[in-house]
Amino acid sequence: MTERLPSVLIIDENTSRASIIEAGLSAAGHTRVTVINEMHGIAAKIARHEPDVIVIDLENPNRDMLESIFQLSRAVKRPIAMFVDRSDTEAMQSAIDAGVSAYVVDGLRQERVKSILDMAISRFNAFSRLERELEEARGALEERKVIDQAKGLIMKSRGVDEATAYKLLRKAAMNGNRKIVDVAESLVMSARLLGDEGK
């Protein structure tokens, strides 16, 4: 008898993160993957899907409630033990670092669960990286805007061209051992305080 791949339920209120995990699992051949983004009526949804493995993000404030649902479900002869392998501290550590947790049905073969959790961990990490990069890109855009504004202020007050304005800015930063963006920011800020928007 060939063993079916376990059915997986992903509980994540972050829809984009849930979908990249779902995509990863599908690519790895998992056909029975369900995503729940909405906590309302969760007990009934879990009962309907009868998952073998539940993947959930650690920041979900409803983890205590979900665990009690799993406990109740043990009462109706559907035992769910928690986490992967009690002895595998390293795996648990990396799961917690990534911000993901998993619950598995008792008796499920360890290596099957491991591959699912590994996938979830790597996708969670990839997602955080992506978010960080986005954040940085957003920050970089902001920085450029501030520097442009500061350059404009200098061009106006000193009557110089853009290249010279930038040089002055850079020199001020180097002299003060500060970042250009910080100097630019304080320049823009003080101009605002003085009522000169530098336009």
Partner: protein, 409 residues
């Protein structure tokens, strides 16, 4: 050099001792830099403590017991070398349920026996008429909230598992769920009862202290192996937390403590909803014409009545309730594991050395003290009690089997 310790906590008034230890410098005086991490669930606190991301945690008293009994995901053994205060919870019901209860039978607010009797009449009438069962929220199965709510219901003649329904919800969602009519009442730690009253969602009908006076709630949980390998650090921490508890317990510090906890790093709630648990005032009662009953100085006790001593009789009472509600089977091994999770020996050896009055016994008969008395302590006088259950029952830890037997349906 400072030793850095990461501590997980949930946004509750009874995390005060940990927070004040950091903010008022009691921890740094002992060479400890506390890194306080607010968590969103007890499951997170448990998991991060078990894998070592936290060295210490603000924990529900039954949590380390459940962990050592193998009822939670990790094999890591935990100990509770200190309690983080007595009381601090309450039962809040919706305005509608309160009106229905009072219609059945008038009762004095904060009188657990009378409130229980009124609720019992209402529940029985509802069952007869085939009305929908009432729903009460608690935060975790292995919590003082779950066990004290069930104790109160049972002793009032209500079966918690068939006459009503108990659901699990995160503390910050309780008030909204009550206001929206998703639940009819809840038992939760402060400030979430006072928050419910302030939002107009309901009223506090009983404090934990009116169900069981001077009763245990949160503990300091640490891994047993960590405690053994870092004994000096643990001892320094216990001294710092004791000093912090002393400070938290002084009435003149309550306003400052409420402001401190209100910070967005900690409870992120207005100081006005935090103060009631500290000074024992109960919000809302004067609005419904009951100003007389609106004071419970023992609502939350961070220091007096040996509030930080980890009584093994408290551990055993929680264990008896885990057995009662079918979470674990009663064996002498299980009882021993539960009892030994609480470590009064560590507490005593550390604090007696700095001349703090410490109980000389590890256990006491719970419910035996109807008033405050001075007891045998290692040095200066120590005051205990009252510690009675609202139904007058006694829990003698030496007669555990009989107690468990007496609570069987």
């Amino acid at each position: 050099m400072m030793t850095e310790l990461s501590a997980g906590f949930l946004p509750l008034t009874d995390s005060a001792i940990l927070i004040a230890a950091k903010e008022r410098g009691f921890a740094s005086d002992e060479g400890i830099a506390l890194n306080l991490v607010r968590e969103t669930s007890w499951a997170n606190v448990r998991d991060k403590l078990a894998v070592g991301q936290f060295e210490i945690a603000h924990a529900l008293a039954p949590m380390p017991i459940a962990a050592n009994l193998g009822l939670t995901p990790f094999d890591t053994r935990l100990i509770a070398p200190m309690a983080l205060g007595l009381g601090g919870n309450a039962i809040t019901v919706s305005n509608r349920l309160l009106a229905d209860m009072r219609q059945q039978q008038p009762f004095t607010m904060l009188n657990a026996r009378e409130a229980g009797a009124a609720l019992a009449r209402l529940v029985k009438a509802g069952l007869t008429e085939g009305r929908k069962r009432l729903q009460f929220g608690v935060v975790h199965p292995f919590s003082g909230h779950n066990f004290e709510l069930r104790y109160w219901l049972s002793a009032s003649g209500i079966l918690p598992e068939s006459d009503i329904e108990i659901v699990i919800l995160p503390p910050p969602l309780m008030a909204d769920a009550l206001a929206a009519g998703q639940i009819d009442g809840y038992c939760v730690g402060e400030p979430w009862n006072s928050v419910g009253v302030t939002r107009g969602a309901g009223q506090i009908i009983a404090t934990k202290s009116s169900i069981w006076a001077s009763s245990p709630e949160k503990v300091l949980a640490v891994r047993e192996d960590w405690a053994e390998e870092n004994a000096a650090t643990l001892h320094a921490l216990l001294r710092a937390l004791y000093r912090s508890a002393e400070w938290c317990g002084q009435a003149e510090n309550h306003a400052a403590l409420a402001d401190m906890l209100a910070s967005h790093h900690y409870l992120a709630q207005p100081a006005g909803v935090i103060l009631p648990a500290l000074d024992g005032s109960i919000l809302g009662l004067s609005d419904i014409g009951e100003p007389g009953s609106a004071a419970r100085p023992d609502f939350f006790q961070p220091h007096s009545r040996a509030a930080t001593f980890p009584w093994q009789s408290h551990a055993l009472w929680f264990y008896s309730q885990m057995v009662r509600w079918g979470y674990v089977e009663h064996t002498s091994d299980h009882a021993r594991i539960a009892r030994q999770t609480f470590r009064p020996d560590i507490y005593r050896s550390v604090l007696a050395a700095i001349d703090v009055p410490v109980p000389s016994a590890n256990s006491k008969v719970e419910g035996a003290l109807s008033r405050t008395i001075a007891v045998g302590a290692s040095s200066r006088a120590l005051y205990l009690g009252p510690d009675g259950f609202f139904d007058g029952a006694i829990f003698d830890p030496d007669r555990l089997d009989a107690y468990i037997e007496s609570q069987k349906p």
